[in-house]
Symmetry: C2
Subunit: 644 residues, 2 copies
């Protein structure tokens, strides 16, 4: 293989690597540190270098401004080496590693590439098995009677006849590819075969015919495709068990952090294609890692169920989303047909099925339908509410009689992007924090009990709540000028140091600064005010709501007290709150395992009324009033008391 020399400045170190290696990977192999918090996914935009000489191919990214591009600045993780090159690591991408032992340096550099993280899924707990077990794809072992002069029915009708007998269903549909191989296959297998049956709308379809008995190998994937975070589960469709789950940032982030910027980007040349490939690529990475880890032959994975907001599903299927952001805000399809996963490039069995959960409207998608299904809002007798805290916050109010929803653009702060030490709810993320009232000493728990690498959503909620409680943070989100080793001035306003770099798993202090707090405050205000507006629109009061389901990709943990304390959630009896984690993913798994659940989701999507917040009078006032901790109207938060 062709090899090239890469010289890094200011280190003045040279490494030799194969053609097409990324600059970030070359740096890692040479023990040279370049900052990266996303692990080389092209998402965080931190691994900036200047190309001094030589040839590279850079993948397009929104993380480099046009001005920077003119200066020949590139992301190291997205630049593939095409010849001998010289690069200079930008100051903000370099880090002093003084004071660390060589082993520590080595460990940290290695860690630049965060693997796709295994996630503990609170969502997997939600979604009780209340639906009939009837997975999207079923495997059935059949021993066919051999043809004789008296029983000369054709191979295909012989197979269908046996399926009808065993499963008590009408003859299923079969595609040409399966029919073409049928004659040889049945005879080679001595008429003992396993058929994979799939549901495609109202019909049953023979997806696969395999020789022998492979009925024990029947797997599927369920996915939650978020604007910021993509999470996938591998499910054994026979035992109904979740075998593994992984999560990663949506690579589309490099083209824009929210839905609107992505929709705009989709209209650029090749924009739609790039966004489409980015999400498919993420899903394939999760699929492949789960397969590798659990020794799964991907040919045994024959179905995939995806829940996502409407824009994410449009981009997944490469459908132009542009009308979603133009009045009257209409999507192209809320109910999409069952497809072959391979039609859009997903690498499970090439004949495996892909079902996307039906959505409600442009800004209330299949992830909401799925969440309502899994938390059972549509079956509640009492008035209940589901609050899904994500980049697009979605709220559904209702019970078995009615369902109404709205969406609020909260931004990705609670998913750990756009905040300086943020990360997704993955191994090493600080998810639980206590701050001493007098000494401001910090105790924290991380996901997986690992060394701290950053702060995830639930951690931020705890931190802000505690900073307010102990009097470090003012109600308008400013860090007070208190003399303490943990408080200092920073580039983005005053900051509070949670973990000093010697203790952290990166070479960085883990901090929260005033810019971060501003982002988090806007996110919580968006969600609270949307919820309040929806309640008011229905001429109800928060007190009428008997159950509040809280959903979001928070990992295993969310402190309801703290969420109320910062004004994210309404100040109600604590026992009314039920934390359901990733309810969208939980619902997707239910639908993967039950066509009854899938049909129910269709009913839910049709039942939910969409309430357009942006045209609601008084919504902006609600939002402005919520831009304080906990709120300008303290009567709404009677139990909240901060230390001055």
């Amino acid at each position: 293989m062709e090899k090239f020399k890469v010289t890094f400045y200011p280190d003045n170190k040279t490494v030799e690597v194969p053609k097409d290696t990324t600059i970030l990977s070359a740096a890692v192999s040479g023990g040279i540190y370049i900052n990266s918090s996303c692990g080389g996914d092209g998402v965080c935009g931190r691994c900036k270098i200047i190309l001094k000489s030589g040839k590279i191919i850079s993948q397009p990214t929104g993380a480099i401004s046009l001005e920077d591009r003119k200066k020949n600045i590139h992301l190291a993780c997205l630049s593939n080496i095409q010849g001998d090159i010289e690069v200079e690591i930008l100051p903000e991408s370099r880090l002093s590693l003084d004071g660390l032992t060589p082993e520590e340096i080595h460990a940290r550099i290695k860690d630049i590439y965060s693997e796709i993280e295994e996630v503990e899924l609170a969502g997997a707990r939600a979604g009780k098995d209340i639906f009939n077990y009837a997975p999207l794809t079923t495997k059935v072992y059949l021993e066919l009677p051999k043809p004789t002069l008296d029983d000369k029915v054709s191979d295909l009708e012989r197979l269908n006849r046996q399926i009808s007998r065993v499963k008590n269903i009408p003859p299923p549909q079969t595609g040409l590819a399966n029919i073409r191989q049928l004659g040889e296959l049945l005879r080679d297998a001595d008429w003992k075969v396993t058929v994979t049956l799939g549901k495609r709308e109202s019909t049953t379809e023979v997806i696969l015919v395999e020789p022998g008995d492979t009925s024990q190998k029947n797997f599927g994937f369920s996915f939650d495709i978020g604007t910021t975070t993509i999470t996938g589960q591998l499910v054994d469709l026979n035992t109904k068990k979740v075998i593994g789950a992984k999560s990663m940032y949506n690579k589309q982030i490099s083209f824009g952090s929210d839905i609107i910027t992505r929709i705009i980007y989709a209209r650029e040349e090749e924009g739609l294609e790039r966004l489409h490939l980015a999400v498919v690529d993420c899903m394939n990475q999760i699929i492949q890692e789960l397969a590798l880890e659990h020794k799964l032959d991907l040919n045994d994975a024959v179905s995939l169920l995806a829940a996502g907001n409407t824009t994410m599903i449009h981009l997944l299927l490469s459908i132009d989303p542009s009308h979603i952001r133009k009045e009257p805000y209409v999507s192209t399809a809320d109910f999409t047909p069952t497809l072959k996963a391979s039609e859009i490039g997903l690498r499970i069995n090439p004949r495996g099925l892909l079902v996307c959960v039906p959505g409600v409207a442009s800004y209330v998608g299949g992830d909401v339908t799925s969440g309502v299904l899994s938390c059972g809002l549509d079956r509640e007798k009492d008035l209940s509410i589901l609050i899904d805290i994500g980049t697009n916050g979605e709220i559904v109010l209702g019970n078995e009689e009615f369902l109404i929803s709205c969406a609020a653009s909260a931004g990705p702060a609670f998913e750990g992007t756009g905040v300086s030490s943020g990360m997704r709810a993955a191994r090493g993320a600080i998810q639980k924090v206590r701050i001493g009232a007098s000494d401001f000493e910090v105790e924290y728990d991380t996901i997986g009990g690992a060394r701290a690498r950053g702060i995830c959503g639930s951690g931020y909620i705890d931190i802000i709540s505690r900073l307010l409680n102990v009097g470090i943070l003012s109600k308008n989100g400013k860090i007070k000028d208190i003399k303490n080793k943990r408080i200092r001035e920073g580039e983005f306003g005053r900051e509070f140091i949670l973990v000093f770099k010697k203790e952290s798993d990166t070479a960085l202090d883990i901090v929260i600064n005033e810019a971060d707090i501003e982002n988090l405050k806007r996110a919580k205000a968006a969600i609270y005010s949307a919820t309040a507006s929806l309640i008011r629109h229905m001429k109800l009061d928060f007190k009428d709501v008997k159950k509040i389901f809280i959903a979001g990709g928070f990992g295993t943990y969310l402190d309801i007290d703290n969420a109320i304390n910062i004004g994210l959630l309404p100040d109600l009896e604590r026992k009314r709150f039920i934390f359901v984690g990733n309810s969208s993913l939980a619902g997707a798994r239910q639908m993967l395992l039950s066509c009854q659940a899938l049909a129910r989701a269709g009913g839910i999507a049709r039942k939910i009324t969409y309430f357009e917040l942006s045209v609601e009078p008084g919504y902006m006032e609600e939002y402005m009033a919520a831009l304080f901790f906990p709120h300008t109207d303290l009567k709404l938060f009677p139990t909240v008391k901060y230390k001055n």
Copy 2:
């Protein structure tokens, strides 16, 4: 474009033609005559040349023996020129054109390329409109209400909602390709569109969405795919009118003249692929010529309905047919799914549908189902029989209560191949013949009233019948040694000259010889004995049969008296016979125009019992007894009297 020199011997003429031109085409362009009766389809094997020098690419053909191949003998029509070459036309492929005017020579040479012939279809007369009009594909013009803030349903659901309203059906299915273009298309078309709806088994599908009102442009093709002859019709699905019809030889003939040799060939390397491409190529030629002639944009052709025997349908769909000829003679699929025509390379609208008529068993295919449907055998109160005279002769006996069928390998003689002056029922074919009792003078009619080019099936029946009547032909099929200008010795036994070359449209005498008569005798014997065996098997008598439907690709004409006279058909009251022409094609058209007819065909295919002739005791004796004119048992043909 690169040009090469081609020198023809013995003429010693040189022409210059572009690379990849066929040698036959080069000859035509240079005014050099090479014999060809199939029109360059690679079927007749008459255009033989020896390559003396230079490079060609020859397509594989069964018409050249291994021995001839070693001698560098090729078919001129299947050899593409790759450089300067020298070729010698074999003596049997050369013709003396002495005595013709230059204009006549020119006209005849031009005529080597028989165009795909327009056919008059007796079959189009059969198949009364007894089924509901409900074509496989329908076009519906829709004016959708534009989306507003109060009516925000997605583009796809908006379309489906309107379809449901207008057509009173549940929301149809739609593929991803249509959904991807929907957003732009609806808006560009100002919400006025035409949808093409297709039936796919039990569901309705949106096949196309087009801007504006295109509902008047709704066309389909129906095809009969025979072992020897392929016939296609262009049908206006709105007016139910047949716009045009064309027929050509099945190019698979060069790989074998009957079903069994094709099945064997299919197992050779690339054999299945070649046979598949050959039939698809024929269909595309017919489609394109009909489109060209009738100024049809092929995007407006959105459905194709094909009837064919089981092997033909396997080869069309590229399904291995090999188990059809292995005991217990089982096909891979008798009921095939609705497909996209483009899936197998048919060039109508890429999203257009292909339906193959369901078959009964390995040797009784969808062509028989279609024939039964169109002649209405399954609705007859009286005992009736359908005799389809083709390369594979099929017989169905029954009425509204039962249907039983068998097949007889008759060979392609009645379709004009394997007989020296044979041609298919196309323009210029002699279809009706009278021979003077004393002077043996010949009067004949040709299809289209054109100059005679050859003899088709109905012509052969007439000729044999008359030769028997006037005492030229003996009962065992020998031409008597009578001194007459029309009777002479030939390479293949004694022969009778019907048309002298000066009157014919080719440069050849049109003759029938003893080898031809032997072939035709075997064909008539196969069909008669199969019919008789089936009647006997059912413990019935010919006299019990009230209606006899005679089908086959005979063009407009078949003389029942003559067919009885030669012993092809049983000697019954003449008024019981009904000539229905190409009943398979007629049924295909009915199904194209009525889903009710298609459903009925499924029922017919399931209802027909298949009777395996080859294992029936006494069948061989029946066949041997029928190898005389009219039969060894003259009591069976009381009305038949030959002159001596």
